[in-house]
């Protein structure tokens, strides 16, 4: 497929790996780079990039899997919605198998709950249009990449006067989570591989504080193997040459320094920034998106009283620490024993972009 396959060339990949190795050869100590985005985590494992990098480069997965960082409280409310006959829950497929405190959307569907898996928020709007006697709740889980699609859908619902469409907003923002990670000091990172498609929307500016205030290099990367290798090459050059850290774009074919202003305008029109609860990271200031008062008619939370069970987390699951990068899946006593993709206990094993699922599938036993 054009603009995908040509960035997977093995010969060029080997050449890049060689350049990376030459660059870090004389560098004392390890270099730890965090790929923030779950889509990068999967791409890195699938392409075998870890195997061709020099040993002193360590890649660490971060909190960039929206399904994984969604707390049980949100899931339990979503599950509670499926038990009401007046509601239809519409969701992206990734959410189906994620366990809440005592159930999952998939289990509720097998018990007769009305749950529709959609590819786009617009598909959920269409379900609302064709089911005027029901209220359709769309589970708005995602980052900046997905937020403008939700904003556009809410504006379309208003324009078309589809008043039985509601969004349960669990949207989160990536840079505040990166801020929380670097400020926690529990983790040593030498640089960030920044998410390509989030950056398509937000551009360069939201990451600048990381380079400026924390002197940590950031490179916005694409998702094909050569993109990721080039991003690593750019990062190690910044680290080894010890120049002032900066935010660079590797994924220039898609990411503009200013992002997508039209998409940002739509996000600002419909949403306001608020604090948000992240699994394993707690409440992070200014890290979530809430529907503005002006559009509260489409906001599921005030419009529909959702009563859910009292949420609890599985105490043995270490997804929270994995999402913060302080532990890896093999540190977890449940990994590969009680927790497998067939019988997942934590969200990091459920989501195809979860770190545990990627380790299970690609990293061998």
């Amino acid at each position: 497929m054009k603009y995908l396959n040509e960035y997977s060339n093995l010969k060029i990949a080997r050449g890049l790996a060689q350049k990376i190795a030459e660059t870090v050869r004389k560098y004392p100590g390890k270099i730890t780079l965090m790929e923030v985005c779950g889509t990068h985590t999967v791409a890195i494992f699938r392409s075998g990039i870890r195997q061709i990098l020099p040993e002193k480069i360590c890649l660490l997965s971060g909190p960039g899997c929206p399904v994984c960082v969604t707390p049980n409280d949100y899931l339990d409310k979503a599950i509670a919605c499926t038990r009401r006959k007046d509601l239809i829950v519409a969701t992206f497929g990734d959410m189906l198998r994620v366990p809440g405190s005592s159930s999952s959307l998939e289990k509720e569907r097998s018990r007769g709950g009305r749950i529709e898996v959609v590819y786009s928020a617009m598909d959920a709007l269409e379900i609302a249009r064709s089911n005027p006697d029901k209220k359709v709740i769309f589970l708005g889980v995602g980052f900046e990449t997905t937020a403008p699609t939700l904003a556009a859908t809410i504006l379309t619902a208003r324009e078309r006067k589809i008043n039985n469409f509601f969004v349960f907003s669990g949207h989160k923002l990536i840079p505040p989570a990166m801020k929380a990670l670097v400020e926690s000091k529990e983790l040593h990172i030498d640089g960030f591989i920044c998410p390509g498609h989030v950056s398509t929307i937000i551009g360069v500016k939201p990451y600048e504080f990381i380079a400026r205030d924390h002197n940590l290099p950031c490179v916005i990367a694409g998702f094909e193997p050569l993109d990721i290798l080039q991003a690593i090459y750019m990062l190690v050059q910044q680290i080894v040459n010890r120049k002032k850290a900066e935010v660079e774009i590797q994924y220039t074919r898609v990411v503009k320094p200013e992002g997508n202003p039209k998409a940002l305008d739509l996000i600002r029109e419909v949403f306001e920034v608020t604090e948000s609860m992240w699994r394993g990271m707690g409440n992070i200031p200014e890290s979530g998106l809430k529907i503005r008062e002006k559009y509260s008619g489409f906001d599921a939370e005030p419009s529909i009283r959702i009563k859910a069970e009292c949420s609890r987390e599985n105490k043995k699951c270490i997804c929270g620490e994995i999402l913060r990068g302080v532990k890896i899946p093999t540190d977890c006593p449940l990994f590969r024993t009680a927790c497998t993709p067939q019988n997942p206990i934590g969200p990091c094993m459920v989501s195809s972009e979860g770190t545990c699922a990627a380790h299970y599938k690609y990293a061998g036993s």
Binding site: Y7, I12, C37, T39, T145, T146, I201, V254, K256, K262
Partner: protein
């Protein structure tokens, strides 16, 4: 979940368009993109084009990669 792929625009009808990849065409929403024309490549996420793909940059990245890895 932030998965998005490049698709080629083959038809435009107001705020929607038909985009194609690997012989498969589907309707996508194009309202997040300014000045789109048939033949442009866009990055598609959750049924929306979220950015135009810059073909010149794409070619330049590839030649830079070849140069870095010393492949002629």
């Amino acid at each position: 979940m932030c998965l998005a792929i490049p698709m080629k625009i083959i038809e435009i009808k107001g705020s929607t368009g038909i985009a194609e990849v690997g012989g498969v065409a589907r309707e996508i929403n194009i309202q997040l993109i300014e000045e789109l024309k048939i033949g442009d490549y866009v990055i598609v996420h959750a049924g929306f084009a979220i950015q135009k793909l810059d073909e010149k940059e794409a070619r330049e990245t590839l030649s830079l990669l070849k140069e870095i890895s010393s492949i002629k």
